[in-house]
Each structure stands twice: as C-alpha cells, then as structure tokens.
C-alpha cells in the first residue's frame, strides 16, 4: 500500500489508496450503471401471484432516514473449486435472483432480470404470519455488482450490495448491507433472539449457500462480519412506523382472504 501523508496541516496532504497509476485510457465509466432519481416508486404489471403492496407511491428510504442502530453486515462465501468468474456469477444472480432466496421469501423481478431502475416486489412470510409485501429499487448494477435500496415501510433502510470478486483465483461472492431497522417495531424484531436472525441474516447466509450450490459448491462456509457503525437510534424517525409494511400487510390480510373466496 502506497501511503503518503504530509504531516503539516497547512500543506496539502495526498493519499493514494491504489499504487497502480490509472491512465486516462484505463478509466472506468459508471454511465448507465445507476438508476435515475425518482420522487416516488411506481409499479405496473405485477407478475401473477405477486402481492403488490407498500411499494407504489413510496419514497426510497436511506440509512439516515431509518430508526435503529446502523449495522454494516458482510456475508461472503468462497466458491472453492468452481470454475466461474465473478462476472458469470453476477450474471446468473441478476437473472435468477429469486431462485436463490430461501423458502418463504419471494422476489418478483422483470423477466429481463436486475437492471438499474427496475423494481422488485418482495413477498415474505414467516410460518404462521400473513405475507408481508414490500419491494426494492435496483439503484446500481454493473458486471460485478448490483445494489438495492428499499421503500419506506420495508424492514430496513439503506443500501444493500451484492458483489463478486476474484481472490487469488477463487471467486468470492458477497452480500453487504449498511442498514438501520426502519422503525421501532422492526428494531424490536431485530433485537429479538432467533426472529431477528431469521428475518435478515439467515436470508443472506442461505442465499449464498443456494448460489454456491448452483455452481456445484455444496454446503460452503459462510463468513459473517457484523459491525455496529452507529449505536444511536434516530428517534426523529420513529414515526416511520405508520408505513410499516408488516403492519399494513397484516391489516389487509383478511380482505385478501375474503377476495380469494
């Protein structure tokens, strides 16, 4: 690591995190990788069977708009022995995202798969509870990564990034989130033993196992790193509970049952 720091405060100090000089010809472009900003989300043509609720008309919720403690969570798995490149894994993940989710979790995406600006509808259920409907906006996608942000009411506020990279010849796939629980109820759920793990962390661990299994790597170890970046709760955002997707989905569940009959 090339680390140069000028000790004098008045003299500009320069740090270079990557010693490899970047020539203009080698510069990357992020044009087309980002979604365009939207005031509120809109959904149309929900796939058959998908519960389209708590997404349309909602704004994206950033980490600073959430309520609970801010966590940086990283889940990764090494695809030992698999001959797949990071780009191939990401291509498969983008087109078959829902297939890798654990039972009880459904993601409905356009047939074209994950692309900047697309909206995914999430239908999530834990045994004995009504299906919770929410969604995500794909904010970023390139050949080696893609990212979601969630609408108001979703359990978590903040970016969620899925990526793959080469580590000494082995492809490593990773899920990284920088999120807060979006309201006091979701924060309470996250603090509840077993439930909190099941609602979030286990989803990503199982997703990575399923993804690894799809390229022939069975039962790999999933490395988890969970760091609390900010212990403070943002009480000014406690009012987010009015948009809680779990509560709203629960309240409309009897109506949905009646319609089915």
């Amino acid at each position: 690591m090339d680390e140069r720091i000028d000790a004098t405060a008045t003299t500009p100090a320069t740090r270079t995190s990557d010693p490899t000089a970047t020539t203009p010809a080698a510069r990357r472009s992020d044009d087309g990788n980002w979604a365009k900003p939207v005031r509120t989300l809109s959904t149309k043509d929900a796939p058959p069977g998908a519960l389209d609720q708590n997404v349309a008309g909602r704004r994206i919720n950033a980490a600073n708009g959430g309520f609970g403690r801010l966590f940086q969570k990283t889940f990764s798995v090494r695809l030992e022995g698999a001959t797949v490149t990071p780009q191939e894994v990401i291509r498969a993940w983008k087109t078959r995202f829902g297939e890798f989710w654990p039972k009880g979790q459904q993601m409905f995406l356009p047939e074209t798969g994950i692309a900047p600006g697309e909206i995914g509808l999430i239908n999530s259920s834990i045994r004995g509870t009504p299906t919770m409907a929410t969604g995500v906006l794909v904010i970023y996608a390139d050949d080696e990564s893609f990212s979601f942000m969630s609408p108001e009411g979703h359990p978590f506020a903040g970016p969620l990034t899925f990526s793959a990279y080469d580590d000494a010849g082995t492809t490593v796939v990773q899920v990284q989130e920088l999120t807060r629980a979006s309201d006091p109820l979701w924060e309470l759920a996250m603090m509840t033993p077993v439930l909190g793990e099941r609602m979030q962390n286990d989803i990503w661990r199982q997703t990575l196992r399923n993804l690894a299994g799809s390229v022939g790597v069975d039962a790999p170890a999933v490395e988890s790193r969970i760091v609390c970046v900010d212990k403070r709760r943002q009480w000014r955002n406690a009012k987010n509970i009015w948009q809680n997707a779990g509560i709203r989905s629960g309240l409309t569940a009897p109506l949905r049952l009646l319609r089915r009959r």
Binding site: A13, T22, W34, P159, Q176, V229
Partner: protein, 120 residues
C-alpha cells in the same frame, strides 16, 4: 505537492480551525475506504465544525462508494460536524438525489458557496 495519481486520491486542505476541504479525485469504491477515512481524520481536528468534500475530480463511483459516504456521514455526525459538498456534476448530483444523500450532505455550487455555508 500532489503525488502520483492512483485510482483514487484524497487531498486535504485546512481552510481554518473550523473548516477543511477534502478533494476527492478519481474513483470512490469500497476500495477507497482507507484513503477516504484517513483523509477525513486528517481534515478533522478538535475544533472542526465542517468538512467539505470537493468532488470536482470525481470520475467513477459505484454503490460501494455510496456506502462509504454514508459511513463518513455517521462519523461526522458523531463529531457534531457538518458535511457539505461541491463540484458534483449533474450525473453525481442525480446519484446523491437517488440515494437521498443530498438530504444529509448539503450540496453547494462551488467552493466559495460551500465555505460561506460552513461559516453560516
């Protein structure tokens, strides 16, 4: 004196005890974490009230970069410092708007406006 340009480069200018400018050049990705956090530490003194990010030389940012800026924002808030920015082109302004970072990091048209905002 500017060193050789790498994939990302941070240059710190102390305007006065209360205000510093961090010039961000090149790329901001997850790999920029050490450079950005070291630059913030350099820019942030006991009396610092505002840290201004100069994005005039920003050439590439992915979602890992947004995560870094969120983390930087948390650190600045913890120190009771304001975080501001200038030099964002239309493309990066839109990304700030998309991710709602523009609600937490005040965006100014240029350095003089950012410095005036820091003093207000």
């Amino acid at each position: 004196m500017t060193q050789a340009v790498g994939k990302n480069e941070m240059r710190v200018r102390r305007i006065d005890d209360a205000t510093s400018v961090v010039e961000v050049r090149g790329e901001i990705t997850a790999a920029s974490e050490k450079a950005l956090m070291d630059a913030y530490a350099e820019a942030s003194g006991a009396k610092t009230k505002a840290v201004i990010l100069d994005f005039d030389g920003l050439e590439y940012m992915n979602s890992g970069g947004i995560g870094l800026l969120v983390t930087l924002l948390v650190r600045a808030n913890r120190q009771k410092q304001r975080l501001a920015a200038f030099g964002l082109n239309e493309h990066y302004r839109q990304i700030f708007e998309l991710t709602r970072l523009d609600e937490a990091i005040v965006i100014h048209a240029d350095e003089s406006a950012a410095l005036a905002g820091a003093k207000a």
